[in-house]
Symmetry: C2
Subunit: 152 residues, 2 copies
């Protein structure tokens, strides 16, 4: 499947917001933001980015593919760790510049630090001055050294 | 509260990922991605962006502030519609380049198109060729013309 056959051009606001054409908006770097939530717990697991190829591969395969800005390469979630993500549902937002996937997370976690979710720290609200983060659900569910050790 | 007193400088990966210092990473445009979920339904309501001022105001006030890329201005969610968002919890991810807020959504919806969530269309998976979006929870919960009419 080529990306050109998958994605429609963006014409009017009415088409983008109320239509059935999928016309994702990629940013200046050619990427779209993807929010990943756990299909069962509804927790946000991670936020990542997709280029057109990653988005097309995710749609076609039903497994999560992303684009790494730091490594500048396409990657399949779980290719190193085995912690793949099966997409239960993909949604797109009103202006089609973000997608949301609900996934079944394979294995003990989504975060490269060894946690279930990347969002394991809370930012306290309503306090002036320097912020001290609070760990929440911060227990490791796997040993990242053991899981990623061979490839790092 | 100045932003300089709120945010710490980014030093090592260890500090950013495992520390208690809040050292958010703003992108080339000076923005950080913010995922907004409904504190009760856990649905993703919207994805927006914050500049340092919006992030600091959100932390201090406990109400959601964002930065509009299209209008190039700081805005308080609900300033036109009255549909404000009270932040129940803010979290930051492992590399501190995204924040997630769980909010109590005031009023009937978060989306400027008149829906509860901006993610009212699904992208079908596993089909080759052009994508036809499917409306999900796409019923309007308010009339955007009536709510925004005076200010647009």
């Amino acid at each position: 499947m080529s990306e050109t056959s998958t994605f429609a051009p963006r014409a009017t606001t009415e088409q983008v917001e109320e239509g059935r054409l999928f016309a994702p908006k990629f940013d200046g770097e050619g990427l779209i933001t993807c929010v990943v939530t756990d299909a069962w717990s509804a927790q946000v697991l991670m936020v990542a980015h997709m280029n057109p190829e990653a988005l097309a591969k995710t749609i076609m395969s039903g497994e999560a593919w992303f684009y790494s800005r730091s490594r500048q390469k396409l990657w399949k979630k779980g290719e190193s760790s085995g912690h793949t993500q099966r997409v239960v549902e993909m949604r797109v937002d009103c202006d089609q510049d973000a997608v949301w996937i609900r996934v079944e997370q394979e294995g003990p976690g989504a975060c490269h630090t060894g946690r279930r979710s990347c969002f394991y720290r809370a930012v306290p609200l309503g306090k002036a001055g320097a912020v001290s983060l609070e760990f929440r659900d911060g227990e490791r569910t796997f040993d990242p050294g053991a899981v990623y050790g061979k490839t790092k």
